[in-house]
Amino acid sequence: MDDVVFWSRLQFGFTITYHYLFPQLTMGLAPLIAAWKWKAMRAGGGPDGERYVTAARFWSIIFAINFVVGVVTGIPMEFQFGTNWANFSAYSGGVIGQTLAMEGMFAFFLESAFVGALVWGDRWLSPRAQFAVAMCVAGGAWLSGYFILVTNAFMQHPAGYETAADGTIHVSDFAAYLLNPWAFVMYAHNMTAALVTGSFVVAAVGAFYALRGIFSEQARLFLTWGVTVGLVSSLVVAYPTGDAQAKQVAKHQEVSLAAMEGRFDSGSMAEVNIIGQPNVAERRIDNPIRLPGALSYLATGSFHGDVRGLGAFPQDQWPTNIELLYYSFHVMVGLGTLFIALMLIAVVQLYRRKLLTNRPLLWVLMLAAPFPYIATTAGWMTAELGRQPWLIYGLYRTVDGASRTVHAGTVLFTLIGCAGLYFLVGVVYLVLVGREIFRGPGPRHHPYAADDEQQADHG
């Protein structure tokens, strides 16, 4: 296929999806590690504090590996605006360049200065300093997320810009750009989802140890924190943040909403299709299981609210891949619902002190670890596929944005190169993290054996 736009989209989509697997755990784990460091600092020593010290140290190592892979896979992203989307960059750099630069200047310097100290600083930092360092790294990660989301929010819902004489756009109202209301909702929803990922992974490791009958004290700590934070975050990611996100899509991106829901006809008492295959050619859903009125209610607050379908819009404004968008959305919402159910059951069992012995539930918690990743990926696909055919909604089309002087063959070369390298990176990541999990937390596995002892070993 001689289509540089297609291959550039595929490359960007692949590299960003792969990259985001790592920051979501970074951003989800960081608050937990900071909280444990705080608990350790408050406990001041003794067995209670020691629990949290051990937990923080164990997860800091996994955090570090995860962070490194997140950084290396993230570097291509900033460059890719210029390499593959040069027309888009020349057009919109005057706006989105600001937040992309701010991310580098504010967040990356903060993270890179302190992440080394977070992981290795046990030895030379006081508990209070360790907590401060953890807060700095967590803050840097969350700040990074904010600047990226402001950039994406602008692409979804442009604000604070003006068009210059040469047709390019620039910031006219910096505050309006930075405080884009779309960004707040998106940020709240996205960061809560990161907490879902972090808490599910922590719970899964706790479940693994509980099933094996090892590291029981840490297993209990991981499970307690994992399912509690997991329940709260699963609820909040759906309501109010997910609801707010859907409502703003309903208000400002009606075509997207219609495509997400597989809605072709317009009217009130709009139904939600719980399941069913979108048949775009014949403009209907095959084998639908519907919930009448639910979509009207969710989108407008009233069962009688009018929700327009795809048929009400010209076809050149339809998202370019309706089927994939539909499924992305349904996968995200379906999993999100299951997450709430799972964590609710787990929290109840925890409260009744039965969680650590409920083997079937522990199995589910352990195997649930990959699913937040699937849900967040599906969520981002919903956002970005829903934005099509626009790069900047209503202003600039995707097909116009690709680099003029780069050919499809060249893009395919770099796509394959990236895929190959990322495969290697993934193997390295799984080996290192898997090794860490199998070795487990605890003083028995102290990463900082005396230097002299190691010197003697390896002379």
Binding site: A64, V68, V69, V71, V72, I75, P76, E78, F79, F81, G82, T83, N84, A86, N87, S89, A90, G93, G94, G97, Q98, L100, A101, M102, G104, M105, F106, F108, F109, S112, A113, F114, G116, A117, V119, W120, W124, L125, C136, A164, H170, V171, S172, F174, S403, R404, T405, T410, F413, T414, G417, L421, V425, V428, L432, E436, P447, Y448, D451, Q454
Partner: protein, 351 residues
């Protein structure tokens, strides 16, 4: 505002080349400085736990180029497409090698990542030099100000040029040697034991070669783009740059003669800074010089709006002060706690 941002961008690029340059240089000399596996661990340790802070200057530079001269960002990044991806892949391999290369106590694992570190560091140094050479030589711009460079054509500097020609390859080799020298100077300061001794011996020799190559590069540049050198020699800032380079070379000579590694290192930093600064002076105001059908583009044509540049200045200043503050804080904290153990335990041998 345009000139201000041109200066800020030069500053960021200089910070990257200066700071990450010694990381790259150490990576290039990795095996020379550490013939044994144990010594190579010491080499990595000498980089410190905040080594990646240095690399962020390139990311920050890219982002700020995007905001201040979006068309230049777009033209350069798409024009140097393949070279950029090679650069990115090198950064990925290098990052993994430094952070993860010594966390498993297995000989094969460490050997693999040591090799990756050297490979990616060498390629990084070459690519930075080649890219710089391309910018000075000029790019085959079309009528709309875009370009696309094949890897090589006829290896000549006129007409149908490619990424690689005799001039850009020279620039690449020059950069490789200079960054290696710079890395050796850094290791001579921060490493300990046999690694430091080796670095102290290698640094002077590499610097002699680097200065010789600098003279060669100057001659080549006069042949390839005389107006570039002329601009440097006639502008006050350019003359200041020559003075800084001279002072730097002076510092290198005195420092190496008297075994004063700190002075030598400072001299090396000054020389590198002077070269980069003069590069920026010589280039100004043509940010996209052309060898092709299209006209060269100046900074004024490529800049974002005045409002954009103005509004970014305050936050940029704040961010830079914070960034430097973080590093000063963490480095001093490390040193204070760990005066004689800094080189040993700031970076543990294994997970």
């Amino acid at each position: 505002m345009v000139e201000t941002w041109y200066i800020l961008l030069t500053f960021m690029l200089a910070m990257f080349i200066l700071l990450d340059g010694w990381n790259i240089g150490v990576g290039v000399l990795h095996y020379r400085l550490g013939p044994t596996d144990h010594e190579r661990r010491e080499v990595i340790r000498a980089l410190g736990s905040s080594w990646s802070w240095n690399e962020v200057w390139l990311i920050a530079f890219g982002g700020c180029l995007f905001l201040s001269f979006p068309k230049a960002y777009a033209a350069y990044f798409s024009g140097f497409y393949l070279a950029f991806f090679l650069l990115l892949w090198c950064f990925i391999l290098r990052g993994l090698a430094i952070e993860l290369g010594h966390v498993i106590d297995d000989r094969l694992w460490r050997s693999f990542w040591d090799a990756m570190l050297r490979f990616s560091s060498v390629l990084l140094a070459l690519l930075i030099g080649i890219a710089s050479g391309n910018v000075v030589r000029g790019l085959p711009l079309d009528a709309d100000g875009w370009f696309a460079l094949p890897f090589f054509t006829h290896l000549g500097v006129h007409g149908d040029v490619g990424l690689l020609d005799w001039y850009t390859i020279s620039a690449g080799i020059f950069t490789l040697v200079t960054l290696a020298a710079h890395g050796a100077g850094y290791a001579a300061l921060t490493a300990s034991g046999t690694v430091r001794d080796r670095a102290s011996r290698i640094a002077p020799r590499l610097w002699v070669l680097a200065v010789l190559l600098l003279v060669v590069m100057a001659c080549e540049t006069i042949a390839v783009r005389p107006e570039f050198m002329r601009a440097m020699s006639t502008r006050p800032l350019g003359l200041l740059g020559f003075l800084v380079i001279a002072a730097g070379v002076g510092g290198l000579v005195v420092g190496h003669r008297g075994a004063r590694t700190g002075l030598a290192f400072a001299g090396g930093c000054a020389a590198i800074t002077g070269v980069i600064s003069n590069g920026a002076v010589g280039l100004f105001p043509t940010m996209l010089p052309s060898t092709g059908a299209g006209q060269s583009r100046t900074v004024f044509e490529l800049a974002a709006t005045e409002h954009n540049l103005l509004v970014a200045l305050p936050w940029w200043t704040l961010a830079t002060m914070l960034a430097i503050g973080y590093l000063v804080f963490i480095v001093r904290h490390q040193r204070a706690r760990h005066e004689n153990k800094f080189s040993r335990s700031a970076y543990p041998k294994r997970l």
